[in-house]
């Protein structure tokens, strides 16, 4: 059973909310080829109240015995005290928790009570600089955590939910109530250290992460499966730029460092993003760190590319290191396009590629496209297992030129290319999707109805469309990264 526009709107909640739809849309006068600015703006707006919605219908065929919560984090509350942030990444973190089983679904949203948001709400205005904005009167705090919106990722781990940013502490939340407990202090001398937004598991169950201090130092973390910090080390690598992700193999941590570099002369006067210069002459730097020693063992430089996300990484025969990488030819995506959306404008078609890095122990590294599709992002795969043989899922942007956003789901094997693809109905915007056992799960927004939804695919039948879905009678702002907690049944 494939949800179409008709079935999206046929949900019981939707049936009672027809009056909420724009009159022009109900009359069928809006071209399905574009999303009007007012709808686009609503997609990036934050509901006035936090949600606690129970009894949502689960449609289609939800698998028996599968009960889970999908936690997505992402920027929200972009407007406060009459000031609107200039960049998507500026908003304060909001958890969107979808709990779904065969009997029904519930959705809970909570703003993360960071020190930043608490102080700014009390003042009724923005107090500190954000990633891409310098609000009037904003003054930098004494530590990066004073500016920490905890808005990039949500990871259930060690009995808690971690809300992650790039440059500051993880925030710990109750994974059931979503109550904010406070910043995580992993141990003595480990307070206020950067714990970035993309930790990765290895086969041993360890959670690895990094952080940058933006003066040239790299912090490397190993957290045991029990939730206790095992090791934390500062490496002086001389890189001060925007690096969002990294990769983990059996023996190594791979860092791919785009030449989007901080000019500290500017950083005192402008927003962080505006102090970042695209410096293609510096190239794309690769740094390999040995997990046992936590020391740099190999470095090289490739022609310049901008990178948000890495995919699977593994060591091949003869010690060659392989890694899937989503690359952009330059940094326009972060410098320009993701600011554009704050003005209710569609971003340009992204020029990203899914490439494979091959880095032999001797000889030059290579980075080559592994699929033809452009405009892809958000690679996810089953982490902690045997890498290199599995499949990834990732999103493709705007294949139908109808949403100005990700509208297609791909199943990819970097050896064999695109294995399956599913294009969403017109004007449906997709968020990151991820594998869960034999399924793939994700969320998105139907711009036509103004509703958010969660849907589930059979991993082997992605092209057949979702097998089950839940519709929410409001739109939640588009988010960033999500992870799933499986409930015992």
């Amino acid at each position: 059973m494939t949800p179409t526009r008709r079935s999206f709107l046929a949900g019981s909640a939707a049936a009672t909310l027809g009056a909420m739809l724009p009159a022009s849309l109900m009359a069928g006068t809006v071209s399905p080829a574009t999303i009007p600015p007012e709808e686009w703006r609503s997609i990036w707006a934050t509901p006035a109240d936090e949600l606690d919605l129970d009894g949502l219908a689960v449609r289609g065929r939800w698998p028996a015995g599968l009960s889970l919560t999908l936690y997505r984090n992402g920027p929200a509350l972009h407007t406060l005290g009459g000031y609107r942030y200039r960049h998507w990444f500026d908003g304060d973190g909001m958890i969107r928790a979808w709990t779904v089983g065969q009997r029904g679904a519930s959705v809970r949203t909570r703003m993360i009570r960071t020190a930043k948001l608490t102080a700014e709400r009390a003042a009724g205005r923005r107090l500190v600089p954000a990633f891409g904005s310098l609000p009037p009167g904003a003054e930098p705090g004494a530590t990066a955590d004073a500016q920490n919106p905890a808005n990039i990722n949500a990871l259930p781990f060690g009995g808690s939910l971690l809300a992650l940013w790039e440059a500051g502490s993880a925030y710990r939340l109750d994974q059931d109530t979503l109550e904010t407990k406070g910043p995580v202090v992993w141990g003595k001398e480990l307070a206020n250290l950067p714990f970035s937004g993309h930790p990765h598991f290895d086969a041993s169950g360890s959670l690895w992460n990094f952080g940058l201090d933006y003066t040239g130092r790299l912090v490397v973390w190993e957290i045991g499966a029990d939730g206790a910090a095992r090791r934390c080390k500062v490496l002086d690598i001389g890189y001060a730029g925007l690096m969002h992700d990294f990769a983990v193999t059996d023996r190594y941590l791979l860092f791919v460092m785009p030449p989007l570099l901080i000019d500290h002369q500017k950083s005192r006067r402008v927003a962080f993003l505006d102090a970042l210069d695209w410096r293609p002459d510096a190239g794309l730097r690769l740094v390999l760190v040995d997990k046992a020693e936590l020391s740099v063992v190999r470095q090289t430089v490739l022609p310049a590319r901008f990178v948000f996300h890495l995919g699977q990484a593994w060591e091949g025969a003869g010690g060659t290191l392989f890694c899937d990488v989503v690359t952009f030819p330059n940094a326009d995506i972060v410098k320009r396009d993701l600011a554009t959306v704050m003005d209710a404008k569609l971003p340009g078609h992204p020029r990203s590629r899914f490439e494979r890095l091959a880095w032999p122990p001797a000889g030059p590294a290579r980075l080559e496209p592994s699929i033809d599709n452009a405009g892809v992002e958000f690679p996810r795969w089953a982490e902690g297992g045997t890498a290199g043989s599995g499949r990834s899922v990732l999103m493709q942007s705007d294949t139908k030129r109808s949403a100005g956003w990700f509208d297609t789901l791909l199943s990819v094997d970097s050896e064999h290319g695109v294995l399956q693809r599913w294009a969403a109905p017109d004007r449906v915007l997709l968020e990151e999707h991820l594998p869960v056992g034999r399924h793939v799960i994700g969320t998105g927004v139907d711009a036509a109805s103004g509703h958010s939804f969660l849907h589930l695919f059979d991993a082997e039948g992605i092209a057949d469309g979702p097998v089950a879905w839940v519709e929410l009678p409001v739109a939640l702002p588009l988010g960033l990264h999500a992870n799933v907690r499986i409930h015992p049944t």
């Binding site: 003054e139 705090g141 004494a142 001398e189 250290l193 201090d213 500062v234 500290h264």
Partner: protein, 143 residues
């Protein structure tokens, strides 16, 4: 930065008023604001010149019981001059400014004139007050 934290650590080591201070001249009253708890102590350091500030050679210091809200430190009879001021809240009572692996402070701190701290210790000029005959007051808001 590590240099910053090291400076405060060294500065806080000399906790008693130094003997042999020259002719009495004026009092300095420092109001320390935003003390978040009554745990531990408030450590106040004065530096008599730029060289002492740069080298973290504390000229005199004071150690006061912490009290939620405000704490006042008074240095009596200071010779005329300019004095750099650094303060921290020694919550755990180890007489050192707590710092993480990057050297960033993990206990609340502040400087004279509420000088801005961004990636490094503020300059002597930013954190110093002038004393010339009359009593002087300044505010340090802990961050």
């Amino acid at each position: 930065m590590s240099a910053f934290s090291r400076t405060l650590i060294l500065g806080a080591a000399a906790l008693t008023l130094l003997a042999g201070v020259p002719a009495l001249a004026a009092d300095v009253e420092i109001t320390i604001r935003n003390v978040q708890s009554a745990d531990g102590r408030i450590m106040v350091a004065l530096y008599a010149d730029e060289a002492a500030y740069a080298a973290a050679r504390q000229t005199m210091g004071s150690m006061l019981p912490a009290r939620t809200g405000e704490v006042r430190a008074v240095f009596a009879g200071l010779p005329d001059g300019r004095y750099g001021i650094a303060v921290f809240h020694d919550i755990d009572g180890d007489e050192k400014l707590g710092a993480n692996l990057l050297g960033y402070p993990t206990e609340p701190f502040g400087f004279g004139n509420d000088a801005e701290v961004r990636f490094s210790r503020p300059s002597f000029d930013a954190a110093a007050i002038a004393v010339s005959g009359a009593s002087t007051r300044t505010i340090v808001t802990l961050k």
